[in-house]
């Protein structure tokens, strides 16, 4: 169990490091794509360990646990968002938060139709 979890942690930390390096290289105070890099490392290492026969039930369990914990984490995140200030901080925040989202839904629909992927 802990070996799988260690693999996941290793990928997460290296990915975050890459994101931080890319951020500082671009001269901005933000992590650029850290999670994305981590996912790519993880997918590569996963394939390698499947091929080597390391990926068994016990090994995968440590990762599966976090995979399943994802939705509960999102629920906890939703409860700790600053919903009140978002709702009460005036018309502009609500309009500028909501209208572009509706516009983006429409852009997405058009893009998906153009690309014909579904």
């Amino acid at each position: 169990m802990i070996k799988g979890l260690a693999l996941l942690s290793f990928c997460f930390l290296t990915g975050m490091w890459c994101g931080a390096l890319l951020g500082s290289w671009l001269g901005i105070d933000a992590n650029v794509g850290g999670v994305g890099f981590a996912m790519i490392f993880f997918l590569l290492l996963k394939e390698a360990s499947v091929r080597k026969g390391l990926w068994n039930g016990e090994f995968a369990f440590g990762i599966e646990f976090w995979n399943k914990l994802y939705i509960p984490i999102v629920i906890a995140m939703a409860a700790s968002l600053n919903v009140k200030s978002a709702v009460s901080s005036g018309l502009l925040a609500i309009l500028a938060g909501l209208l572009p989202v509706l516009l983006a839904f429409w852009v997405f629909k058009v893009l998906i139709k153009k690309l014909g992927t579904s």
Binding site: I73, A78, S80, N82, V87, A96, G97, F108, I112
Partner: protein, 254 residues
């Protein structure tokens, strides 16, 4: 009673497991009994949690919703950036690398398109509301991207704290709007495949909103949406205070 409260506050994370677990249980029952499983239990649990975040904000008058009450402080740890990102990476266990590589270009197009659409729409709305200086317009447009891009841009350009606060609020409204609207509109807009989820993550960009919205729609799509959304905030922080600001200030002649 005092002892119990002390124990719960001391073991905040464990109490957060209990609280979220009970909410999920209640939401599942509600989904089955009241909505005949038409609204997924996880979507319902996320809506309920947002409602509680609002109540928490009313009672505690803080910035972290329900987590500002000492009893529920563990929620902000469980739902904080570290666990969220770690769990997102774990969801990649069920994703296909080949698919991600194949649709990488869709992700790139959607990222550029997404930042452009949100920034422009945000600037246009701020203009209609009477803002005329390039710094404020740029900060508010950046806030329409995500609640991180807004303050980063505002900080870099030296916007007033009132405008920065407004840009954060805008970003939070966006996150909530994406969370709620994604499961409702997913079918109508053709958000059903891994490729479309990658495009979706790039266009919407807010990692929390995309991830929560996709989780409520179809958990299998989460890793694909997350892999592009994770680049959005960084890219936004890069172009908003530089390229976009230059364009805006040139247009305004200031």
């Amino acid at each position: 009673m005092e002892e119990l409260q002390l124990v719960l506050e001391k073991n905040g994370l464990v109490f957060a497991f209990l609280a979220v677990g009970m909410l999920t249980w209640g939401a599942d029952v509600l989904s089955k009994k009241v909505f005949a499983s038409k609204i997924p239990g996880s979507a319902l649990a996320i809506f309920l949690a947002l409602g509680m975040g609002y109540l928490g904000g009313l009672i505690a008058e803080g910035e972290q919703g329900l987590a500002d009450l000492p009893l529920f402080a563990g929620l902000s740890f469980l739902g904080g950036g570290m666990f969220r990102d770690f769990a997102i990476v774990a969801t990649a266990a069920s994703a296909s690398f080949l698919l991600i590589r194949k649709s990488g270009w869709i992700g790139l197009i959607s990222l550029v398109l997404g930042i452009g659409v949100f920034f422009l729409a945000g600037v246009a709305l701020a203009w209609m509301m009477g803002y005329r200086d390039a710094v404020s317009l740029c900060t508010l447009g950046a806030g329409a991207c995500t609640y991180i891009v807004g303050p980063v841009t505002g900080g870099a350009l030296g916007a007033s704290s009132e405008v920065i606060a407004l840009s954060i609020a805008t970003g939070v409204v966006k996150t909530i709007a994406v969370t709620i609207l994604t499961p409702l509109l997913a079918k109508k807009i053709g958000l059903q495949s891994p490729e479309s989820a990658m495009a979706y993550g790039g266009i919407m960009g807010t990692s929390s909103g995309v991830a929560a919205g996709l989780a409520a729609t179809d958990p299998a799509l989460v890793p694909y949406g997350a892999v592009t959304a994770t680049f959005y905030t960084g890219l936004g922080c890069l172009v908003c205070p530089s390229l976009f600001y230059l364009i805006l200030s040139t247009l305004l002649g200031a």
